[in-house]
């Protein structure tokens, strides 16, 4: 997706509840982050979707009054607080019915039972959210790169991501190591620019 300069104000545009395009773009951009973070927190996929649904509904109601002000923190922190509250709420709800074979009640990072995987991802810290958030921005940028770079370049990059040595890639792709480096550099520059731009748009 090419990003028009107006998107610099994507968050600002959410002030206008009628700006449907802004809301669609906003939801398209952040929904996966919310769902992934929620599932990393051990929620069932359906619950994670519920969390996303509720979060975007709450944002829709709250954004028109939301002001980005340094004293209150940034949009990302705000998003995190909303998501965390909703995850806690879902967990609290699910800890009630006896028959629910769903996610485990996790309070303040303490796991009340369950398997190891859930324990690992139970941490409801802002740090975990940040991690997911960074991944998320990389993922968006990656999608854009896959879309806009030549398939050969993308293929080279896929192999770089799998950790294959440059020489091996050059040999298999019947090209020079310089060329591989060049692809890597081009993709890095693009990725850097995209991620920077995306983050700037949150301001």
């Amino acid at each position: 997706m090419t990003i028009p300069p107006t998107q610099l104000t994507l968050i600002a545009r959410l002030q206008d509840p009628k700006d449907q395009e802004a809301w669609q773009r906003f939801e398209a951009r952040y929904r996966e982050l919310v769902v992934r973070f929620s599932t990393r927190q051990g929620l069932q996929p359906t619950d994670a979707e519920d969390v996303a649904q509720t979060v975007f509904g709450a944002l829709f109601r709250a954004m028109p009054r939301f002001t980005l002000d340094a004293a209150k923190g940034r949009f990302r922190s705000y998003l995190f607080r909303v998501v965390r509250n909703e995850i806690s709420r879902v967990r609290a709800r699910e800890s009630r019915p006896a028959g629910a074979a769903a996610a485990l009640p996790i309070v303040e990072g303490v796991v009340a039972g369950g398997d190891a995987r859930r324990a690992q991802v139970a941490e409801l810290s802002e740090r975990a959210f940040e991690e997911e958030w960074i991944n998320h921005h990389y993922r968006i940028a990656m999608a854009e790169i896959r879309r806009t770079f030549a398939p050969e370049s993308v293929a080279i990059f896929e192999r770089l991501m799998r950790g294959e040595p440059v020489e091996a890639i050059a040999r298999d792709c019947a090209t020079s190591t310089q060329a591989v480096h060049k692809v890597k550099q081009r993709i890095r520059d693009k990725m850097k620019a995209l991620v920077e731009q995306q983050i700037a748009e949150e301001a």
Partner: protein
């Protein structure tokens, strides 16, 4: 969001220590080492959210009433698949269905249906079923994964990234593919029933894939998929789905949905707004034909629009029989062949417009009629619907405002209804016109909050205009303008002034119409928006029409050019068509008839197939007919008038002034074709139908009726004269005489409406009964005009007209001298030129009269002046192409040849 807050946020990190700094950003981006590649690799991993039947679930794609759809990976092959699973396991997490057993068994049935349908359908444009395993008692559908976008989003992207022709063809081809895929189902007796953009994904190569046969059913099969009378997605369903008649649902239901899909993809708008309250939504689906707006024209050729409208017919019998027939017609469109949906004649378009228009703008009139019939409920609905529909094109907040207004209006009409009931109970039958009168009266006598009063006046003004009471409409608009003052913004004030100008124009008050239109332009001063440009275009158009009817061609043309310019600035095709048509009339006033006729035809071509208010559409048709008539293309004129009448009879009724006006012109076309008897019979019938001004209670209505009658009688007179059978001349004199009487019934009528008729009357009298009678009649008329209108320019012009006439009669030199001496002629010529413009046709009359007077003088100085004036008139008549040339030449033809 305050700008200040945003600025702070984008500034360098605040000292308060929030982690917004460069250090963090660098850490995040980590582009200095190869860490970024690891990060990218991690980000690229699918988030595994679980496993089911051996598939690794990656994410939830969709959750619906029927189940959850996951994106998943088949570990063995690594290929991506879509898995649909019943909600059964998940239901326990939520509040749970009210009747779990029933719900599950119902959904099981649906599921089984979808499985069997998909298994039966193998088509490149239908999603393929890979397997249908069970897992923990839940049934799964494993389908090929389709990387694509929903049809609407895909189409929006196509429009924004490709050229118009390319985009149009791409989207129509995809529609054909989708329709063909559905037709495979139809061929084996299966209806999809839930076709909507999210169920048709478009992937690489612009190939659509139809998904979700969960609601599919076989024709005539016992319907396992129905619950509580309705199955489907409300805003994408057909009328027969709403009505809960399972037997009414067949392949044509899918055709309707494909029509909605096409409408959405091509216009960028859903035909029916899914966010409406369900009752309103269903009511619209039942009754409202989706409109192609002016702005859609740039994308959707009218042929294609016809195909879509055919698919969207409310009555399934009128739609394509199945998806295959729709696909065929779409392919015909792509191949440039005539489409099946195309009407045999142009009347179809008019009829379609009528149908659409009828629900959209004469709802209010319908409301009053409903009221007359005592149908309170339908009245309230009609008002609400009209208001809401009018607002539909506008934004949501306006719709809300419109709804509130409608509520207030309803309250008012409820009271009115109570009054009516009393009247009816007293045995007084009520007609629509009486109801409107009562509405006006009750508004005068009740205490009404200003805002509501404005709404009511606006509505009444519109209704009165609609039923052809232009004087009454103008009176309401005047009150509205007075009430508005500073209370509302420029657009609303301009709208009221434009309405006022239009009502005055049609009520034969061009001068006052001009004032209102000019005020509208002044009110809009400084407003910068497309809407303002649209209003300016309308206002300038009305200025042009008013100037045209006062015979001021150059001013009219200048205004029409402005109208066209603003129409183009507003980007609205109907506005442009209107301005073109108005410009045609201005060109005509300048005598440039060929160009005028061409402009009028272009206006009709531009507007054909557009969503135009029917009143305006019929005006364009009428003008084209009028100019065909003026350029002596009588066949063409007749065809235009027939089409106009078709619209106006349906739209306004037989006895509406505008309908009658077209009838008059049609008679003239018949006359041109030497079908004299038909023409004269028609005009006689019209004269009888229009009635006498004395029939009207209000002076204003009487005046408007008189203007109409004058027009009919004038043409009847000339038609009789042309036919020239035994007794026709006497009948013509009678008609002209009555026409002249009518002029005195219209206060403030333009004198140019009188001069021609009066001249004809006097001329025929001279021929039939002798010059003495003619001269007496002329003098009597002159005296009456002088005392009735009291306006110097009226008597001056009439004197000029009669003066010429009488001066030309060889014997009447004395009469002439006694009527108008040279000094009188000079005065008259000056008054006429001052009032009508130095280069107007009226000024020509004045100067010509002066010339004749001068030439009859024996005084050398006057003879010399006569020579110079003759030279000047001659030059004028040759130079003035484009400035009244036609009228001047016509006048010249009837004068003694200049030496």
């Amino acid at each position: 969001m305050s700008g200040g807050a945003m600025d702070d946020a984008s500034d360098p990190p605040s000292p308060s220590g929030h982690p917004t700094g460069d250090a963090e950003r660098t850490a995040i981006l980590a582009f200095e080492s190869d860490a970024w590649i690891d990060r990218a690799a991690r980000a690229a991993e699918p988030a595994i959210i679980g496993e089911i039947a051996g598939y690794r679930l990656v994410r939830v794609v969709a959750r619906g009433a029927q189940g959850t759809v996951y994106e998943a990976i088949e570990p063995r092959t690594g290929r991506r698949v879509a898995i649909k699973r019943l909600m059964r396991g998940d239901a326990a997490l939520g509040d749970g269905p009210a009747e779990p057993t029933h719900a599950i068994s119902l959904e099981d049935t649906r599921f089984a249906r979808e499985t069997s349908v998909l298994a039966a359908l193998a088509h490149p444009n239908i999603v393929s079923l890979l397997s249908a395993p069970e897992s923990d008692g839940a049934r799964l559908l494993v389908m090929e994964w389709i990387e694509g976008e929903s049809f609407d989003r895909w189409a929006d992207a196509v429009w924004s990234t490709r050229g118009r022709d390319d985009a149009l063809e791409t989207i129509v081809r995809a529609l054909v593919d989708a329709a063909r895929a559905i037709s495979v189902a139809h061929a084996i007796g299966i209806v999809h029933r839930d076709i909507k953009p999210t169920n048709i994904l478009v992937g690489a190569g612009d190939a659509p894939k139809v998904l979700d046969f969960g609601l599919a059913k076989e024709f005539d099969a016992v319907d396992a998929t129905r619950t509580q009378g309705f199955a489907g997605t409300p805003s994408w369903c057909a009328p027969e789905q709403i009505d809960g008649r399972p037997e009414g649902i067949d392949a044509r239901t899918d055709v309707h949905a494909l029509g909605l899909l096409a409408y959405r993809a091509l216009t960028g708008r859903a035909a029916f707004d899914g966010s409406l309250p369900i009752g309103t939504l269903f009511e619209r689906i039942r009754h409202e034909v989706p409109a192609f707006r002016a702005e859609d024209r740039a994308r959707v050729p009218s042929e294609l629009a016809l195909v879509i409208l055919r698919a969207l017919e409310k009555d399934p019998a009128r739609r394509y029989a199945n998806a295959s027939a729709l696909a065929d017609d779409l392919e015909r469109f792509l191949a440039g062949e005539p489409v099946e949906a195309h009407p045999p004649g142009t009347l179809y378009v008019a009829r379609t417009l009528v149908r659409r228009h009828r629900t959209a703008t004469i709802g209010l009139l319908a409301a009053f009629l409903a009221l007359a019939a005592g149908g309170a409920a339908s009245l309230l609905f009609a008002i609400d619907a009209t208001r809401a529909r009018n607002a539909e094109a506008a934004r949501a907040d306006e719709a809300e405002e419109a709804r509130l207004r409608a509520e207030r209006m309803n309250g008012y009409f409820r009271d009115l209804l109570a009054n009516l009931r009393e009247q009816d109970a007293a045995g007084t039958p009520t007609t629509a016109a009486e109801i409107v009168k009562l509405a006006v009266r009750s508004l005068e006598t009740s205490q009404t909050p200003p805002e509501l009063e404005r709404d009511l006046r606006a509505t009444l003004a519109e209704v009165l205009f609609e039923i052809g009471d232009y004087a009454g409409s103008a009176a309401q608009f005047e009150r509205l303008v007075g009430l508005q003052r500073e209370a509302v913004g420029p657009p609303e004030r301009a709208r009221a002034l434009i309405g006022l100008a239009r009502a005055r124009q049609l009520g034969s008050q061009s001068g006052n119409a001009l004032l209102a239109a000019e005020q509208a332009i002044a009110v809009l001063d400084g407003s910068v928006s497309k809407a303002a440009d649209e209003l300016r275009s309308s206002a300038y158009g009305l200025v042009a029409v008013a100037e045209t009817s006062s015979g001021k061609g150059p001013a009219a043309l200048a205004a029409a050019d402005q109208a066209l310019r603003f129409a183009e600035a507003s980007g609205l095709a109907p506005q442009r068509a209107s301005a073109l048509s108005t410009r045609a009339l201005a060109l005509d006033a300048l005598g440039n008839r060929e160009a005028a006729a061409e402009a009028a035809n272009e206006a009709v071509r531009t507007a054909r197939g557009l969503e135009l208010p029917l009143g305006e559409w019929s005006r364009l048709l009428h003008n084209a007919g009028y100019l065909a008539l003026a350029t002596r293309r009588y066949d063409e004129a007749l065809a235009h008038f027939d089409e106009t009448l078709e619209v106006r009879r349906r739209e306004h009724g037989e006895r509406h002034p505008r309908t009658m006006h077209t009838e008059i012109q049609r008679a003239l076309a018949l006359r041109g074709l030497t079908r004299h008897d038909e023409a004269i019979d028609g005009l006689v019938a019209l004269a009888a139908a229009v009635g006498n001004p004395g029939d009207d209670a209000s002076p204003a209505a009487a005046s408007s009726r008189a203007a109409q009658r004058l027009n009919i009688l004038r043409h009847l007179g000339s038609s009789l004269e042309i036919r020239g059978q035994e007794g026709d001349r006497a009948r013509a004199i009678d008609a002209y005489g009555k026409a002249v009487e009518m002029w005195f019934e219209v206060p403030g009528n333009t004198v140019s409406r009188l001069t021609g008729t009066a001249h004809s009357l006097v001329r025929l009298l001279a021929l039939e009964r002798g010059e003495a009678v003619a001269v007496d009649q002329a003098r009597a008329l002159l005296a009456r005009v002088a005392s009735a209108s009291g306006r110097a320019e009226h008597t001056a012009l009439l004197r000029a007209v009669f003066g010429q006439r009488l001066a030309e009669a060889p014997f009447a030199k004395d009469a002439w001298r006694s009527m108008a001496d040279t000094a009188q002629c000079r005065d008259d010529a000056r008054i006429i030129a001052e009032h009508f413009g130095a280069r107007s046709a009226e000024a020509f009359e004045g100067e010509f009269m002066l010339l004749l007077a001068l030439e009859r003088s024996d005084e050398p100085s006057l003879v010399a002046e006569a020579a110079s004036l003759r030279a000047s008139i001659e030059k004028w008549s040759t130079d003035s192409f484009g400035e009244n040339s036609d009228r001047v030449r016509r006048l010249m033809r009837s004068r003694p040849a200049l030496p």
